[in-house]
Amino acid sequence: MAEIIQEEKGEGKKKAKKHAPHIDMTPMVDLMCLLITFFMLTTAFNKPKIMEIILPEPQKENAPAPRISASRTLNIVLGPDNKIFTYPGTVKPEDYNNLPPLTETDYSATGIRQVLLERNVTLAKKIKDFENEVLTGKLVLTPDSVRGSIAKLKKVDDTGPIVLIKAYKKSNYGNVVDILDEMNICGIAIYMLVDITWYEEKMVETASGIAPSATALN
């Protein structure tokens, strides 16, 4: 009897050597596929970024409006249907019946960016040169001091335009973000988001050919 048992054991061992043990991995693979799909669909890969914007404190009533030089002023009016208009300087009260024409442009790199860069060449070049020096390793600075230095360059600059951004009521949030982004790209030192005036509304309406609204009449 003992012999028979030994024989059986021997056969079993031989079989094990012949075939490599195969585990059926199909269910496991199925499950993994499922989990991977689930995670891929629910994962937020690219974290959204933020653009910081600081608005000036609202003006107290009766306080005089800050005076800025008209020759440096560039007005950007965000129009309806993703249109964008610019005009330089200001409109004096005596010109209200004879409003200056608006120049239409667009949000592309050849549109508004070109307009802004043309007026901001000196500062944009200074910033670019500075960034190049950092990139090529001539200057070794921490990111914070790089940012600080650029801010300083912007502060001492007195040639670049002062940009006033005015959004017409039919423009959208994307337009506002685009134009603020453009300010960052072009390195504009002074820009602000201000309320649109009634004559600018009128100018936009004539330029884009829509019926004047009630507010433009008064």
Partner: protein, 212 residues
């Protein structure tokens, strides 16, 4: 004709490398996963060149949807260690004469998505079981000057967590009037620094082009 003997073995494919790869991918995804929030309204954010990541806590996010509804979210979803969500809701309830019980406060604490519900409907909203039932109440937070609940939310949020930062997440097609109104409300409550949530977009500026 003699029968051709077919091998009885079923064809085995060696799945080990595939399983290996799957495990690696799965582990990676599990470790890096930050769950995408369910959003009550689809919002497609505009793009910018800014590379600053969104802060993870101490934020209140105002969501402006395409159809002019306003939603509010704290700390990107369910509560963090600060536990200020239920406190804000309790304050809001006191202001508008709605009393919230423990269970409701806890539910608000756990609620993972942005909410845009008038405070008087909040009880029913929290009681609703399914997403579908809840979405009925999501008409946006009222921002009219007669019933400016958003202003109150902002006020109490800033009272309870003074370090809170305002983030604005708007759809690129949201009309400007609503944006202006919301910015106005924030400025009324002395919030002058905002973070606009955008997607990253690579832009190059050529100095040679400017010279022309």
């Amino acid at each position: 004709m003699p029968k051709i003997k077919l091998p009885t073995k079923s064809p085995h494919i060696d799945m080990t490398p595939m399983v290996d790869l799957f495990s690696v991918v799965l582990t990676f995804l599990m470790l890096t996963a930050t769950m995408r929030q369910t959003e009550p309204a689809p919002v497609e954010t505009p793009t910018s060149i800014s590379e600053k990541p969104t802060p993870d806590f101490n934020t209140m996010t105002l969501i402006l949807s395409k159809d002019d509804r306003v939603f509010l979210n704290f700390d990107n979803g369910s509560d963090t260690a600060y536990k200020f969500r239920p406190k804000i809701l309790a304050e809001m309830g006191k202001r508008y004469g709605v009393e919230f019980n423990e269970a409701e406060l806890r539910q608000f604490e756990k609620y993972p998505s942005p909410m845009g519900v008038p405070i008087l409907k909040m009880k029913e909203f929290l009681a609703a079981k399914s997403v579908k039932e809840k979405s009925v109440f999501e008409t946006g937070i009222p921002i009219d000057s007669t019933d400016n609940q958003l202003a109150m939310w902002i006020l109490y949020t800033r009272q309870i967590n003074p370090n809170v930062q305002a983030c604005i997440k708007g759809d690129s097609e949201t009309g400007y009037p609503i944006v202006k109104e919301v910015l106005g409300i924030l400025q009324d409550y002395k919030v002058n620094r905002f973070n606009l949530i955008t997607n990253l977009e690579a832009v190059k500026v050529n100095i040679e082009e400017i010279k022309k």
